[in-house]
C-alpha cells in the first residue's frame, strides 16, 4: 500500500516534469520558427532608415550610415581610408584627379594639402552609424497620408458591415436549407470565384461609367458590390456553418424559433472565430486593394486610398528605401487591427442555449 502511494507520487512528478519539458519545447520551437521566419524583416527596417545613396556604394556598411565629412575652407570634403607608408589614414579628399590626388588630414588641417599617388576611386569612404528619418519625411511630404488613412478606414468599415451581413445570410442560406437545384446555384458561386477578375474589368468599368451607373470618381464601385456578399467569403462561411452539427438548431426549431433567430442565437455564437477571420480578411483585402481604386478613383485625388497612393509613390522613387518606407506605412494599421482582434480568437467556444 505504502509502495503504491510512493509510486503514485513518483509518476505525478514525472508527469509534471514531462509537462514542463513539453511546454518548454513547444515555446522554444515557436520562438526559433519565428526568428527564422522573420529573419528578412530587419532588412526592411534597416533599409527604411538608410540615407539615400548608401545602397549605391557597394562598400558601404550594412547598418544605416552616413559618409564622414570634414569641413575645410567652407567646403564639405568626403573622408576616405587612404593607405600610406604609415598605415591607413582617414583623410579628406581635397582635389581629386585620376593618377594622384590632394588630401587634407582632418587632425592637422593647417599642414595643408598632402599629395597622394594612386587612383582615389579605388578608395573606401569612411562611414559612421547614423540612422535617418528623411525617407519617411520625404514620403509624407509627397503623399497626404492622413487623408488616405481616413478614406481607407471609412471605405473599409462601410463595406465591412455590408459584406458581413450579406455573406453570413447567404452562407446560412447555402448551408441549412433544402432548395431544389441549390447545388447548381452553389457551383455558379464557385464559378464567379474562378473567372479571372481582369477579364471583366472592361465591361464592369462600362457598367459603372457614365453610360450606365455613373459611379466613376466615387467610392460606390468599391463599396456597393460588397453589400451583395463576397463569393469567396460566402464559400468560407458556408464550409464552417455546414460543419456545425444540426442538433441544436433542430431543437430550437421545435421550440418555434424562426430561421433568423436560429442564425443569430445558435449558428453565430458557434462561429465567432470564422466570422472574425472573415472580417479580418475583408479588411485586409480592402486595405491592400490597388486595382479597383486606381481604376475608379484616379480622377478623384481627394478620395484615394492608402495602398494605391503608396504604390504610386513607390513607383515615383523606385529605390529600396522608398519601397520599404511605403511597405511599413501600409502595414501599420493592419498590424494594429490584427493584434487587437486576437481577443476573439482567444475565447473558447460558447455554446448558448436558446431562450424560450
Amino acid at each position: 500500500m505504502n509502495r503504491s502511494k510512493r509510486g503514485g507520487e513518483h509518476s505525478r512528478l514525472t508527469l509534471r516534469l514531462w509537462d514542463f519539458t513539453g511546454t518548454a519545447m513547444l515555446n522554444l520551437f515557436m520562438f526559433l520558427f519565428l526568428v527564422a521566419y522573420l529573419s528578412p524583416l530587419p532588412f526592411m527596417v534597416i533599409a527604411s532608415l538608410t540615407p539615400r545613396n548608401q545602397f549605391l556604394d557597394g562598400n558601404a556598411p550594412i547598418l544605416p550610415s552616413e559618409r564622414v565629412k570634414f569641413n575645410y575652407e567652407g567646403k564639405d570634403l568626403i573622408v576616405y581610408e587612404v593607405p600610406t607608408e604609415h598605415g591607413i589614414k582617414h583623410w579628406a579628399l581635397y582635389k581629386p584627379s585620376r593618377k594622384s590626388s590632394q588630401f587634407i588630414d582632418p587632425n592637422n588641417p593647417q599642414a595643408g594639402p598632402i599629395l597622394w599617388q594612386g587612383a582615389w576611386r579605388t578608395l573606401k569612404a569612411v562611414y559612421e552609424f547614423k540612422p535617418t528619418l528623411d525617407n519617411f519625411k520625404a514620403f509624407l511630404s509627397v503623399a497626404r497620408m492622413s487623408l488616405y488613412f481616413k478614406n481607407t478606414i471609412i471605405v473599409a468599415i462601410i463595406s465591412e458591415i455590408g459584406v458581413l451581413f450579406s455573406s453570413i445570410a447567404v452562407a446560412y442560406g447555402f448551408s441549412r436549407f433544402r432548395i431544389p437545384g441549390i447545388k447548381y446555384i452553389f457551383f455558379l458561386l464557385i464559378a464567379t470565384i474562378m473567372i479571372p477578375s481582369n477579364i471583366t474589368l472592361v465591361p464592369t468599368y462600362y457598367l459603372y461609367s457614365g453610360h450606365m451607373l455613373n459611379w466613376i470618381g466615387t467610392w460606390l464601385p468599391l463599396i456597393v458590390p460588397h453589400f451583395f456578399g463576397s463569393a469567396v467569403l460566402i464559400f468560407l462561411l458556408r464550409q464552417n456553418f455546414k460543419s456545425i452539427p444540426r442538433d441544436l438548431d433542430e431543437a430550437a426549431m421545435l421550440d418555434g424559433a424562426s430561421p433568423l433567430r436560429i442564425l443569430i442565437s445558435v449558428i453565430l455564437p458557434q462561429s465567432i472565430p470564422v466570422v472574425t477571420t472573415v472580417a479580418l480578411l475583408h479588411f485586409f483585402y480592402i486595405w491592400n486593394e490597388t486595382r479597383l481604386s486606381s481604376l475608379y478613383l484616379g480622377i478623384a485625388p481627394h478620395l484615394q486610398l492608402v495602398s494605391f497612393a503608396v504604390q504610386r509613390n513607390q513607383t515615383y522613387f523606385f529605390t529600396p528605401e522608398a519601397l520599404m518606407v511605403g511597405a511599413l506605412m501600409v502595414m501599420v494599421i493592419p498590424v494594429i487591427v490584427l493584434f487587437l482582434s486576437q481577443r476573439f480568437f482567444m475565447q473558447d467556444m460558447i455554446v448558448t442555449q436558446i431562450e424560450k
Binding site: 513547444l26 515557436m30 522573420l38 529573419s39 528578412p40 532588412f43 550594412i62 450579406s166 447567404v170 442560406g173 436549407f177 433544402r178 431544389p180 447545388k183 446555384i185 464557385i190 470565384i193 473567372i195 479571372p196 477578375s197 477579364i199 471583366t200 472592361v202 465591361p203 462600362y206 457598367l207 458590390p225 451583395f228 456578399g229 463569393a231 460566402i234 464559400f235 468560407l236 464552417n240 455546414k242 460543419s243 456545425i244 452539427p245 430561421p259 462561429s271 472565430p273 477571420t277 480578411l281 485586409f284 491592400n288 490597388t290 495602398s307 494605391f308 504604390q311 529600396p320 519601397l323 520599404m324 511597405a327 502595414m331 493584434f339 486576437q342 480568437f345 482567444m346 473558447d348 467556444m349
Partner: protein, 307 residues
C-alpha cells in the same frame, strides 16, 4: 374592376397553404437573395460581355473596327505555345507552393491550439504580418536580405553564396501563409471541446486526437483553402491582394492574360485566354469537389445536397 380582377388572380395563383418543404425553399431563397440579386445586376452582364468579347477581335485601341470572328481566338489558343507554357507554369506554381504553404499552416495552427503556448497574440500577429507586405516591396526584401546573408554569413565563412532563383517561390509561399493559417486555426477553434475530452477519456494521445478528430473536423476548411489557392495560382480570386506592378503577377497565366490585355490591348484574345483558363480551373475544381465526397466531413448530410 381591374383591381378586383388582379387581386382575384393573385388569390388564385397563391397556393392555399405552402408545404413545409416549399416554405423552407422560400426562406432559403430569401437568405440567398443578396448574392443572387448582386449576381444578376452587377456580375452577370460583365461576364456575358467577356464571353462575347472572346468571339470578336476586340482591340482596345481601335474598338470601332471590332468584328465577330467566331471561335478563331480559341483556335489561336491551341497553337499558342506561350499560353500552354503559362498554363503549365501555373500548375507548377500551384504544386510547388500550395503543399508547403498548407502543411506549415496546418502545423502552426495545431501548435496554436495548445494551451501551453505563450504569447499567442504576438506570435499570431507576427506570422500574419508578412502576408500584407505589398508585392513591390517583397522582392526587395527577399533580394536585400539574401545579399545581407551572403555578406555577413556565407562570404566570411568561405561558403558559396546563395542564389535567389530557386528560393523565391518557397519564400513567397511561406510569407503568404497568413490567410490559410487564420482559416485553419479558426476552424480548429470551432471544434467542440467535448469531442477532445471524450477521446482523451478513451485514451487517445495528442497525435491520435489530431488525426482522428481535428483533421476530419476541419476538412471543410482545408478543402476551402485548396480551392482558393488553386484559383489564385491561375489568376482567379485571391484572399489577399498584395497589389502588383504593371502586368506582373506571381501566377504565370495571370501575367500572360494581363500582358495580352494591357500591353497588346488585345481584349478579344485575352478574353478567350481567360475562358480557357476558367475551363481548366473549373475542371480541376470539379475534380476536387468529386474527391471531397471521400475526405471532407460534414455532420448529418441530406442525401440530396452533398459536398
Amino acid at each position: 374592376m381591374d383591381v378586383a380582377n388582379q387581386s382575384g388572380l393573385l388569390l388564385k395563383t397563391r397556393p392555399a397553404k405552402l408545404t413545409r418543404r416549399q416554405h423552407e425553399t422560400w426562406i432559403g431563397l430569401l437568405f440567398l437573395s443578396p448574392w443572387l440579386i448582386g449576381f444578376v445586376f452587377l456580375k452577370a452582364l460583365p461576364i456575358l460581355a467577356a464571353l462575347i468579347f472572346s468571339l470578336t477581335d476586340f482591340q482596345m485601341l481601335t474598338p470601332e473596327s471590332t468584328k465577330f470572328i467566331g471561335l478563331e481566338n480559341y483556335v489561336r489558343f491551341f497553337s499558342d505555345i506561350e499560353a500552354g507554357a503559362s498554363l503549365l507554369g501555373s500548375l507548377r506554381y500551384f504544386l510547388l507552393t500550395v503543399p508547403l504553404e498548407m502543411i506549415v499552416a496546418l502545423v502552426l495552427a495545431a501548435i496554436f491550439t495548445s494551451e501551453r503556448l505563450k504569447n499567442k497574440r504576438l506570435s499570431q500577429t507576427l506570422i500574419f504580418m508578412t502576408s500584407i507586405i505589398p508585392s513591390t516591396s517583397i522582392f526587395f526584401i527577399f533580394l536585400g536580405s539574401l545579399a545581407y546573408a551572403n555578406r555577413l554569413i556565407f562570404t566570411p565563412l568561405n561558403l558559396p553564396s546563395i542564389e535567389g532563383n530557386g528560393l523565391l517561390l518557397p519564400f513567397m509561399a511561406l510569407w503568404s501563409i497568413g490567410p490559410g493559417f487564420l482559416i485553419l486555426y479558426s476552424a480548429m477553434k470551432s471544434v467542440p471541446n467535448e469531442m477532445y475530452e471524450a477521446a482523451r477519456v478513451d485514451g487517445a494521445g495528442p497525435f491520435a486526437r489530431f488525426i482522428y478528430i481535428t483533421l476530419p473536423m476541419i476538412s471543410p476548411a482545408i478543402f476551402f483553402t485548396l480551392v482558393i489557392n488553386l484559383t489564385g495560382a491561375f489568376g482567379g480570386a485571391v484572399l489577399l491582394d498584395r497589389g502588383y506592378i504593371l502586368n506582373f503577377s506571381l501566377s504565370p497565366m495571370e501575367s500572360y492574360i494581363n500582358h495580352t490585355m494591357f500591353l497588346e490591348a488585345d481584349l478579344g484574345y485575352a478574353s478567350a485566354l481567360a475562358w480557357m483558363t476558367f475551363g481548366v480551373m473549373m475542371t480541376l475544381t470539379i475534380f476536387l469537389f468529386w474527391s471531397a465526397k471521400r475526405w471532407v466531413y460534414f455532420p448529418e448530410e441530406h442525401e440530396d445536397e452533398q459536398i
